[in-house]
Subunit: 241 residues, 2 copies
């Protein structure tokens, strides 16, 4: 097995570029997310582990071995546990996401924290949403923190950028999570469920064209974290589907 210790090695440069730019290639960190991705049939462009990490039980793939110091300089050590894999950045289309009518799609409107975006991608996978549509102002779902929060699901949840005009033109019912709406169950299917910015919620234009629903809660608390709202409404949508 090839062991690399130079920061200038082309493979190391390629990993570093994928972490920094996440343009055409992205990095998944951690033995569990990487094993899940391989198990789901995703073909890695490259598998790398630190020389002091446990090898994954995957004899079919060939691994690049990095010195512990070099690995530490590349990856978020606690999450990666010495294992990372390079994959092609997946791409999906708005129309493919909106074509699925047996479930809901998620749209995010100005969700700025990459941890929230990644957590919502993970929730979309858990509750079988058609995909995650990103309106302007959202964090990049392929940023390292978002990928980590997605726990590897970023590879298989369709994600695409969308405009407010495309949403309106689609004719699909829009339902906005909004603390001023009436407490109600979310739709089970044939709808786009919209979650808004951490501070200001779903923007006015969208609110006006959507049905607003809220989550029943104590009057002493005004709002929930956006990922908490998404967890509650997506889980409920799945339960009544």
């Amino acid at each position: 097995m090839k062991r690399i210790s130079s920061r200038e090695n082309p493979i190391v440069r390629r990993i570093r570029a994928a972490i920094r730019e996440h343009a055409s290639e992205i990095v998944i960190e951690g033995p569990k997310p990487v094993a899940d991705a391989l198990g789901a049939g995703w073909k890695p462009l490259l598998l790398a582990r630190s020389e002091d990490a446990q090898p994954l039980d995957d004899s079919a793939s060939s691994w690049v071995l990095l010195s512990a110091e070099l690995f530490g300089s590349l990856a978020e050590t606690r999450t990666s546990q010495g294992v990372l894999a390079l994959f092609e950045r997946p791409s999906s289309s708005v129309s493919a996401i909106l074509a699925r009518r047996d479930t809901v799609a998620v749209a995010l409107d100005g969700v700025q924290d990459p941890g929230n975006v990644g957590t919502i991608v993970r929730l979309a996978a858990a509750f079988d949403a058609a995909g995650v549509l990103l309106l302007p102002g959202c964090a990049d779902p392929f940023a390292p923190k978002a990928i980590r929060s997605s726990a590897g699901t970023i590879l298989r949840v369709p994600v695409a950028e969308v405009t407010i005009e495309e949403l309106f033109a689609s004719g699909i019912p829009l339902v906005a999570a909004d603390m001023h709406g009436a407490p109600d169950d979310p739709p089970a299917r044939e709808a786009v469920l919209i979650f808004g910015n951490e501070g200001s919620g779903v923007s006015g234009d969208l609110i006006r064209r959507s049905r607003s629903i809220s989550i029943a809660m104590s009057r002493r608390v005004e709002s929930l974290n956006v990922a908490s709202s998404a967890a509650i409404l997506l889980s409920r949508s799945y339960a009544i589907r």
Copy 2:
């Protein structure tokens, strides 16, 4: 109004100590969480704002004005928006939390991320849980990141450290969120709802003495983030209460 620009000023030292040590005094950051705390009747030990921040609409309290540079050196600027307040660290007892039988209590078992602990405190407030009990291995709920994630609710949700023996001795039904349990509604009242470590879940000793319940989800995903699980089960417990 007093304007301070020296890092060695005793008031500044006191704020810095509260952020770092959060022992007998804690800092709440941000205009909204601070206004909420004042509105709820909490008496601040000290209110401080940056000279370039909007004053809160609170003429009853006296504010200390800090130079923008000094404020920036103390607080997490994006969250605080130039406003912070010092409060006495609240203290609650296990017995007071377990005495409430009209709702559930939450127990956390080795939840290591302060963001998760703070988010679950916020959820406990939103869904009127009796309080949050911390088993060994949890992040400090008064760490700055946990306080920020609680969005100010840390002041009013009772929080106390607990041992596994105290939980067993209480005689209150224990219900563990566990992916190997059967999908079921959580209890509405008279129970402790237990959430476990981010990687390994609820520990074996507790699992054996608890009823395990899981959240219905796609088979393609193995687990949720612990704060997502708490959002779903606490919201459901509130809805059926």
